[in-house]
């Protein structure tokens, strides 16, 4: 566990991905490990680190603005973690997660790490596990950007699926 935490805090991509998978896991046997991990990284935010949230109704330009901000951060040499939350279908539980495409990631740049999360059965707002994911990313990267549709907002032309 401790080496996992150290790898996350060193910004190792595979460790970050594994930590996020663990956080999202609903398997009983994973819950304790997930909680321990979150507790361990919670106090390990990067010095001078920041978490920035972008929220608002669909189509207002969150991803576009976020993409520009990420680009500027990268130009200044800081590493960035992005969490993009998209709503889920209420009928099937599935989701199309497409926001990462709006963040222009320079080819071969491993200094940006984008994770999409489905809002599952919650309408708008945060996905389950978003807060924990922020804690992981805050330990792994200099800046964290979170994009979500605001609570109570619904997607443009959203059908009743």
């Amino acid at each position: 566990m401790t080496t996992e935490v150290e790898r996350v805090c060193a910004g190792e991509r595979r460790a970050v991905a594994a930590a996020l998978n663990l956080i999202e896991s609903t398997r009983g046997s994973d819950r304790a490990a997930a909680e321990a991990l979150v507790d361990a990284v919670a106090g390990r935010a990067r010095p001078g680190g920041q978490v920035v949230g972008l929220t608002g109704p669909p189509g207002v330009g969150k991803s576009t603005l976020g993409g520009r901000v990420v680009g500027e951060w990268r130009r200044r040499g800081v590493t960035v973690g992005v969490i993009a939350v998209d709503p889920s279908s209420r009928a099937s539980g599935g989701a199309v997660l497409g926001d990462r495409s709006r963040i222009a990631k320079p080819a071969g740049d491993d200094g940006v790490f984008i994770r999409s999360m489905a809002a599952r059965d919650r309408l708008g707002g945060l996905a389950p596990g978003t807060v924990e994911a922020i804690l992981v990313m805050r330990a792994a990267f200099d800046r964290v950007l979170v994009e979500t549709v605001g609570v109570g907002q619904s997607e443009r032309s959203r059908r009743s699926w």
Binding site: R13, R14, A17, A18, L20, N21, E24, S25, T26, R27, D30, G59, D86, S88, S89, A91, S92, G93, G94, A95, V96, L97, G98, R100, S101, R102, A104, K105, A107, G108, D110, F113, I114, R115, S116, A118, R120, E155, R156, S157, R158, R159, W161
Partner: protein
């Protein structure tokens, strides 16, 4: 016996221009092909470019890997353009070029090549497709954001109006919209709206004066589609003609009826051509053609036909000849061209026309209410409509509501001798073509004056930055040996790169779901429970391939089946796909490749995944994968290969869930 109608000599109308869309491997190989086609009685040239040329990359760019010379001819510089038309007098040719984002550049190369052949630009006849709106919505070879794209499109218009009186600067395309799933209403309204957006843009330009504007309107031609419902398609063309005439008159005040004429070329529908019992496609193509030749008032000016093996791979010269002969038989053996319009006065047709025209106007009003074409492209609103229409179309076929012979009915068949040969009935481009093209490019760069090329490029950059017409600067670039990638590089530098909305987010086919969807959902739920996390599928399109229909429909159905789907759209490098798979914690990766570059790109994706320690993630591949290549992909470790015959999307979902279960040691 009384004199029959047939025995009386009648005056025949002149047939349409008969063309074949072709080009592959290299300029020299395509030149040989064109000369052969001209010798067989083809009356115009229609050039297919490869994807790097269409998207402004040199053959040695990483994104060009596997795509050079595959689906068209690679034109990297003036030397290639000259080789393409070697021994073909451009003065006498009518050349149609399917080129869009890089249209200013390819036209500049054509002008430069002609001038070196001794033909002044004013003497050139032909067409640049140069329609950017449909690239964002359906075709996918855009480079720049919508606004600068429309500006460059207008540059070509302004330049040709002044310098090339016999050139059609824009072919407004509805063709590709139908191939992306559009119904007739969507096809007509989206295309007309795109044409108006362009004309509005041109009208506002300083270098096009009000007096010549009607002539600009008159220069616009169209490129349409015609599918199996050929009566409806014929009605569509009659309606388009009428609406165009009215829009030109009312919106732009064009008084000369000649300048309001709806001139169009056609490629008939290919989306409905099947992999199963492919010989039946010959009938389909013949019937589709009726829609655009039967009615004299709405007859096509030029026709290109696909071949029987459309859904298998690229046509061989003989396959193209077979389709060419269909046109010639229609034009020369039948009495089609002897009569006036057969449908004027028909009440059935008039009623269909009125209904369609009203629907189109409603749809165009909707686009206006979304803020116009540019806004509705940027927001994804128009793209969503196309994806949804395609979802509906495929759903009807899956449910058996729309019958397709050989697909969902009459599926029994004896083995087809047409695919029995060693080549599997298709043309395959030699992988050496890419290496040779790269070598020629290196030699070209070494032989030119680097200083002259640099100076010409900086002139281009200045013109682009200043908002001037880029055409003259592009012709100077052509003459100094600038390459396609260098030209595209300057445009990207000045105007920025663009990724269009995918349109899949808000579409669902679940409302009309079949029983199979329930099974797929169960499989996904079971595997997700075992994984502890909802099954996450990354749908990736590596390379320059813009065929998005398959990936979109897979993404929509996977979501409807309960998966979390990450889909970023077209044109990703294998490296981008692998890094997304890592970040997202994807349980499976689905690659969609229709451009014939799978044997280069799938191994590249596997290598990129391995480099990130992701070799355990199952990969499935879909698209135009010739039977003979299946083995190679499976040997590489591909879990499953899907082709157009796999039209049951729910079954595909069950298979993906199964592959994930196996990879994770779970019960299926």
């Amino acid at each position: 016996m009384a004199d029959t109608v047939a025995s009386r000599p009648r005056k025949k109308d002149r047939p349409w221009v008969i063309r074949t869309y072709s080009g592959h491997s290299s300029a020299a190989a395509s030149n040989a092909l064109y000369r052969e086609n001209l010798a067989r009685g083809q009356t115009g040239l229609s050039v297919a470019f490869d994807l790097p040329t269409q998207t402004g990359y040199d053959a040695d760019h990483p994104l060009a890997t596997g795509e050079v010379g595959k689906v068209g001819v690679p034109i990297g510089h003036l030397g290639d353009m000259e080789a393409l038309f070697h021994g073909i007098p451009l003065r006498e040719m009518n050349t149609s070029m399917t080129i869009n984002a890089t249209a200013p550049w390819l036209l500049a190369l054509y002008v430069a090549a002609a001038e070196r052949q001794g033909t002044p630009r004013a003497g050139l006849r032909g067409t640049t497709q140069n329609d950017l709106v449909k690239e964002f919505l359906a075709r996918g070879t855009y480079m720049l954001p919508p606004e600068p794209s429309l500006k460059l499109q207008a540059d070509v218009v302004a330049f040709t109006v002044r310098e090339m009186p016999q050139w059609n600067p824009v072919n407004v395309c509805s063709y590709h919209l139908q191939e992306a799933g559009a119904t007739p209403v969507l096809e007509v309204s989206f295309a007309l709206a795109g044409a108006l957006a362009l004309l509005d843009q041109v009208r506002g330009r300083a270098d096009v004066d009000a007096a010549t504007f009607p002539e600009v309107v008159g220069r616009l031609s169209f490129f349409v589609n015609a599918g199996m419902r050929f009566i409806e398609e014929m009605v569509k063309l009659r309606v388009m003609g009428g609406l165009w005439d009215r829009l030109c008159r009312e919106r732009y005040g064009v008084t000369d009826p000649k300048l309001r004429r709806f001139r169009y070329g056609v490629q008939v529908n290919s989306l409905g051509l099947t992999e199963q019992q492919p010989e039946n496609n010959v009938y389909r193509i013949a019937l589709e053609m009726l829609g655009v030749v039967l009615s004299k008032r709405a007859r096509a000016r030029a026709v290109q036909l696909p071949a029987w093996n459309e859904a298998l791979g690229l046509p061989r010269p003989w396959d193209q000849q077979w389709s060419l002969r269909l046109q010639q038989i229609m034009a020369h053996e039948t009495d089609l061209l002897e009569y006036g319009d057969l449908f004027d006065g028909s009440t059935v047709i008039a009623e269909l026309e009125a209904t369609l025209a009203a629907d189109v106007e409603r749809e165009m009003a909707w686009i206006a209410s979304e803020g116009g074409v540019v806004k509705a492209v940027q927001s994804g609103a128009m793209k969503e409509r196309l994806v949804a229409a395609n979802t509906e179309r495929l759903g009807r076929i899956e449910r058996g509501e729309q019958q397709v012979v050989g697909v969902n009915c009459f599926t029994e068949s004896a083995p087809s001798p047409l695919v029995a040969g060693a080549d599997g009935g298709i043309m395959t481009v030699d992988a050496a073509a890419e290496r040779e093209q790269i070598a020629r490019l290196a030699a070209w760069r070494a032989a030119r004056s680097a200083d002259d090329a640099r100076a010409a490029l900086s002139g281009l950059r200045d013109a682009a930055r200043a908002g001037d017409n880029v055409m003259e600067a592009s012709v100077r670039c052509a003459l100094t040996g600038v390459t396609t990638g260098e030209w595209g590089g300057v445009m990207r530098e000045v105007f920025g790169e663009y990724r269009a909305p995918t349109g899949v987010g808000a579409v669902s086919g679940a409302a009309g779901a079949t029983a199979g969807l329930g099974r797929a959902r169960e499989a996904v739920e079971r595997v997700s429970a075992g994984l502890g996390r909802r099954l996450k599928l990354l749908v990736g399109k590596p390379g320059l391939d813009g065929h998005s229909n398959g990936a979109e429909q897979i993404a929509v159905r996977a979501r409807d089946a309960g998966m979390e789907v990450v889909y970023e759209g077209i044109r990703l490098t294998p490296e981008q796909i692998a890094s997304a798979a890592e970040e997202e914690g994807a349980h499976a990766i689905g690659l969609s490749i229709l451009s014939g570059s799978h044997l280069a790109l799938v191994p590249a994706v596997f290598a990129a995944l391995a480099a990130r320690g992701l070799e355990g993630v199952p990969v499935v591949v879909g698209g135009i994968i010739p039977e003979g290549d299946r083995g190679a992909l499976e040997a590489l470790g591909v879990a499953r290969v899907f082709t157009p015959s796999d039209f049951d999307l729910n079954a595909i979902m069950v298979e993906i869930a199964g592959a994930v279960a196996r990879a994770n040691g779970l019960a299926e």
